[in-house]
């Protein structure tokens, strides 16, 4: 067995395969919740995994490697300062994660390891194996991974990639980590046939043809990098923002966090890090009270600079969007990437003065 192998996992072996994996690590997978909601969660049994789940709004790669609220260490005040580093990081497999989210995990791994290694992220990421699941069709209309080179299937970046071929999964091994979890379970895997590979090709082409949302991010990269987008456009966009920060919270790429020290009932303190957002005024407000990004428009501009300007592409190795569509479904208005890119492109061709001049709403 080697990295690069394309094998077959028959559906009647899936349960046994993951039961056996579960002895080694906990399984995180799409799980049925209340009234039709499906959310990634710890599953007690592989039989709970909802394979045909569409898409989870809560990015599993981010949530399980870089949680919303994460304890870093705890300490006590007083003469003897004792620091306990949080060490509760279980081995886990995220099963059924989509291609876009795998791409995002690789982006975050790169971010959190250069130039300084973030020990909290690294421990979690070292302990995590990604079983990605190819989208046989775009799970929802908001998806645009195809425009962002992040799906609906992957050429690389996965540990194991599964493609649903009906009664079987095509089982591709993409990394040493993937190989390590596959080798002990050889008895559940078998060789694939040419027919299987052909079927996989057919699924790829079919899936590619079904995307409804397009985002011509390449053009936006040019306009944003060259700072050509008029400020009026950013202010017009910002005037509709509800400042909920769901766009950055649920973006599987966004990495910003804040830290605070939380008092505990026993008198100790826990240093906790939690997601922060460039869409908040407090994110950049300086101690003097001055804010270099004082308006909503300036903060929306900031977000898209980080997503699409060349300086970040150079640093991060790709633009900061995987096309998962979560900014589309979670935004209370229309400040998602495809809509903003569309607005920017229109502005570059025919910037029309809006009917009422947008007010630059300050903090």
């Amino acid at each position: 067995m080697n990295v690069g192998d394309k094998l077959i996992l028959k559906k009647n072996n899936v349960s046994d395969f993951f039961y056996s994996l579960q002895e080694q690590m906990q399984l995180i997978a799409p799980k049925q919740r209340f009234a039709g909601d499906v959310v990634f969660d710890l599953v007690n049994s592989p039989d709970e995994i909802v394979w045909e789940y569409g898409h989870d709004i809560y990015p599993p790669g981010k949530r399980y490697l870089f949680p919303h609220y994460e304890d870093m260490f705890s300490y006590r005040q007083g003469e003897q300062i004792a620091i306990d580093v949080a060490a509760d990081v279980p081995r886990q497999a995220i099963v059924g994660i989509r291609s876009c989210d795998v791409t995002a995990v690789r982006f975050q791994e790169r971010f959190f390891s250069s130039p300084i290694v973030d020990p909290f992220y690294k421990t979690r990421s070292d302990n995590t194996v990604l079983f990605s699941l190819v989208c046989n069709e775009p799970p929802k209309k908001d998806c645009f991974c195809i425009c962002c080179d992040a799906g609906p299937y992957l050429e690389s970046g996965f540990d194991v990639q599964l493609t649903d071929l009906g009664d079987r999964f095509l089982y591709e091994i993409g990394s040493e980590k993937g190989l390590d979890v596959s080798e002990p379970r050889e008895k559940y895997l078998e060789a694939s046939t040419e027919q299987d590979i052909a079927e996989r090709k057919r699924i790829e082409l079919h899936a590619d043809s079904l995307f409804q949302t397009a985002s011509y991010i390449a053009k936006a990269i040019i306009y944003i990098t060259s700072d050509e987008v008029p400020d009026e456009v950013w202010e017009e966009l910002g005037s509709t923002c509800f400042r909920c920060a769901a766009c950055t919270n649920l973006c599987p790429i966004c990495t910003c966090y804040t830290v605070d020290d939380r008092p505990e009932p026993d008198g100790s303190f826990t240093r906790c890090r939690s997601w922060d957002s460039c869409q908040y005024a407090g994110f950049t407000r300086e101690a003097s009270g001055h804010n270099p990004r004082p308006t909503f428009g300036s903060r929306v501009k900031r977000r898209f600079y980080h997503k699409a300007s060349f300086q970040y592409i150079m640093r991060d190795g790709r633009h900061g969007c995987v096309g998962c569509g979560r900014c589309v479904s979670s935004c209370l208005t229309k400040l998602d990437l495809p809509s903003v890119v569309k607005r920017i492109r229109r502005a570059m061709h025919d910037y029309i003065e809006p009917i009422s001049k947008p007010t630059a709403f300050l903090e």
């Binding site: 209340f34 909920c244 009932p265």
Partner: protein, 649 residues
């Protein structure tokens, strides 16, 4: 993460969310909205995303407190309950049950609200039970019962995007109720025409096809002109003339002179005609109004006038209530003049029904309002989940009246400004720590589920109420599902609800059997007199980042970082006239109080007005209000107050 979602408790939209408690210690490790819930649809607002952390903190009240000497000291539940029961018994035996008052919350569950009403009326036998809504929006109750027939929104949040037109008056809705704001944007995208009315240019501006900026206090004048225009131009629906009250309404508007609009309201007559045409031509029209309308001198009449607009145009009314269970608390009868289900206390049959349901005699006297209670109208006062020291008007006098009470007991999450004055403090659970139901702004009754264990020794208000009742020798149900069973059996609006049903979906809006709409006559009222010593008018608005008196939201790191300090805003030309620079500390004073804030200037604020965003991290705009109330509903006048502004040297 918990398998079952709960209902967010930070505003009336009522999103469903999953909360993941931290593995050990206090706090959460994550949360996410439900995608299938009709309001949240995979989205949350800034409070939903952040404020949950403000509920689970080490400074939560951990044990009951009992005042000994001058200090509140930790006590056992047994002691706190027995001290309270003993004092109440003594006050009742010496001064009668009318000397006891109870103020309920619009944040607690329906089951807690219902049990509180039952406790007050059937156990304490006091007529003085009223809710937090008296400080905010109670004026809509008599007004909407008399017009559309139900004191609630006629449509749900999820239906707003289909509106053809909207009239939105006196509400900072884009800031306060983000999910409704979002639906307004969706509606506009679908072609809906928005007529916004607010003295100040709010964040509705980008959505508003027409934005009217009337002078504060002049609302009845333009609404009457709007009604007159609709009638004169026959813009109403065909069914309108057959509606009861049509001719009386027409007659009551005989004295409307459109020509006075520029002088009285600062609005051109053509703008009112345009508004009427937009609303009539784009069906269905939704009439929404917020605290800007609900906290005025004649707010009940004003709400009736706005409801008439909806009735004449065949549209819908949606009052923009703020608190998570504002609707449910009123449905459950946390009101001085109604028993649960809006059954009037004045009616003999109603009282007979409830006397038999509760097996007690109900005091038929008209009770005191929450405003009258906090002014010292009672000797002993119980306050559940409302920080009356800040939410009541006339802060200084209110606090001194609360201090003078013989006895004050408070149930709350934190040692609030009110709790600090109390003789007994009960540590309450947050909505994350208890089971129950909330009723959202669209009347949807939905489950609240316990996702973490109660913090410290805290208990739900239901447990406190049951404990107090048992000290009086009365048995009351402790299990929320049993309470809901009793509600379903006694309150017809809730007849179809049960906990079994809530296990299969997102609940349902309650439905009134057959409300009979009726148009109300709208006579002119006197304009408030001018006060030469106080030449400016106060505009107070809700903000995105904080809710209520800040007991919860002001404890959230992200939210206080976003909004650490409130300001006073005036128009740049007024700043120039007063020779005040932005950043200067200024004092805004009224006849009853004053507050100091840093000054900001904004074109959004009209000349002659002072805008104070509501934030309670310090003093509040409520300090400026007196005890003047809308004469029908008893809601204090918080809006348009005459004030002056000066530099603090």
């Amino acid at each position: 993460m918990n398998d079952k979602p709960t209902t967010c408790g930070f505003c009336s939209c009522g999103c469903a969310l999953y909360v993941e408690p931290r593995k050990s210690g206090l706090g959460i490790s994550g949360l996410c909205p439900s995608t299938t819930h009709p309001v949240s649809t995979g989205r949350l607002c800034i409070k939903g995303w952040n404020a949950t952390t403000s509920l689970i903190r080490v400074d939560r009240l951990q044990t009951p407190l009992v005042r000994k000497g001058n200090e509140l000291q930790p006590a056992s539940w047994e002691e706190a309950l027995s001290v309270t029961a003993d004092v109440l018994k003594r006050v009742i035996s010496t001064s009668g049950s009318e000397a006891v008052g109870v103020i309920g919350s619009a944040k607690t569950t329906n089951e807690e609200c219902y049990s509180l009403v039952k406790f007050a009326r059937a156990v304490l036998r006091t007529p003085n039970i009223d809710g937090a809504c008296r400080f905010y929006d109670a004026s809509l109750i008599p007004a909407l019962i008399d017009t559309i027939g139900i004191p609630a929104s006629q449509i749900g949040v999820e239906q707003l995007a289909e509106a053809g037109s909207m009239l939105i008056a006196g509400a900072n809705v884009m800031e306060q109720l983000a999910h409704i704001g979002s639906r307004i944007q969706d509606a506009v995208e679908n072609g809906c025409k928005v007529v916004a009315v607010d003295p100040r240019k709010s964040r509705l501006a980008p959505q508003a096809g027409l934005f009217l900026h009337p002078k504060p206090g002049s609302d009845l004048t333009w609404v009457r002109a709007l009604l007159k225009t609709i009638l004169d131009r026959k813009l109403y629906v065909d069914a309108a003339p057959q509606m009861p009250g049509f001719e009386e309404l027409r007659a009551s508007l005989d004295d409307v002179v459109i020509g006075v609009l520029p002088q009285v309201c600062g609005i051109e007559p053509e703008a009112v005609v345009e508004a009427a045409t937009i609303l009539a031509e784009n069906e269905p029209c939704v009439v929404m109004f917020g605290l800007g309308v609900l906290q005025q001198q004649d707010s009940t009449i004003l709400v009736k006038a706005l409801a008439n607009v909806a009735l004449l145009l065949g549209g819908y009314v949606m009052p923009l209530r703020g608190q998570n269970n504002a609707q449910g608390a009123c449905d459950m009868g946390v009101l001085k003049d109604y028993l649960p289900g809006y059954e009037p206390i004045s009616s003999v049959e109603t009282r007979a029904k409830w006397e038999s349901a509760w097996q007690c005699a109900i005091n038929p006297q008209a009770g005191l309002s929450a405003i009258e209670m906090v002014q010292g109208g009672v000797k002993a006062l119980l306050v559940f989940g409302e920080n009356v020291a800040l939410s009541a008007p006339n802060t200084e006098q209110t606090i001194s009246a609360l201090e003078k009470l013989d006895f004050l007991a408070v149930s709350d999450l934190y040692l609030t400004e009110t709790a600090q004055l109390a003789d007994v403090v009960f540590p309450a659970c947050s909505f994350l720590e208890k089971d129950g139901t909330f009723t959202n702004i669209g009347r949807r009754v939905q489950r609240v589920r316990r996702v973490i264990d109660p913090i410290g020794e805290s208990k739900s208000d239901l447990e406190v109420i049951v404990g107090l009742a048992s000290a009086f020798g009365k048995e009351m149900a402790t299990d929320p599902s049993a309470v809901m069973k009793e509600i379903a059996a006694t309150v017809p609006l809730y007849a179809n609800f049960s906990y079994e049903q809530f296990e299969t979906g997102w609940g349902e809006p309650w439905r009134a059997s057959t409300p009979t709409p009726r148009l109300a006559p709208i006579h002119a009222t006197d304009l408030p007199p001018e006060e030469p010593d106080y030449p400016y008018q106060l505009l107070a608005s809700r903000i995105n980042f904080h809710t209520q008196t800040g007991t919860m939201s002001a404890r959230c790191g992200i939210l206080t970082r976003e909004y650490p300090e409130s300001v006073v805003e005036i128009n740049p030309s007024d700043a120039e006239k007063l020779k005040l620079r932005p950043g200067r500390v200024v004092r805004v004073s009224s006849k009853t109080g004053s507050l100091t804030r840093r000054l900001a200037v904004s074109d959004a604020v009209p000349q002659g007005c002072v805008h104070v965003p509501h934030y309670f991290g310090g003093d509040s705009a409520n300090m400026l209000a007196g005890y003047e109330c809308d004469s029908i509903s008893g809601v204090p006048v918080y809006k348009g107050l005459p004030v002056k502004i000066e530099a603090v040297s």
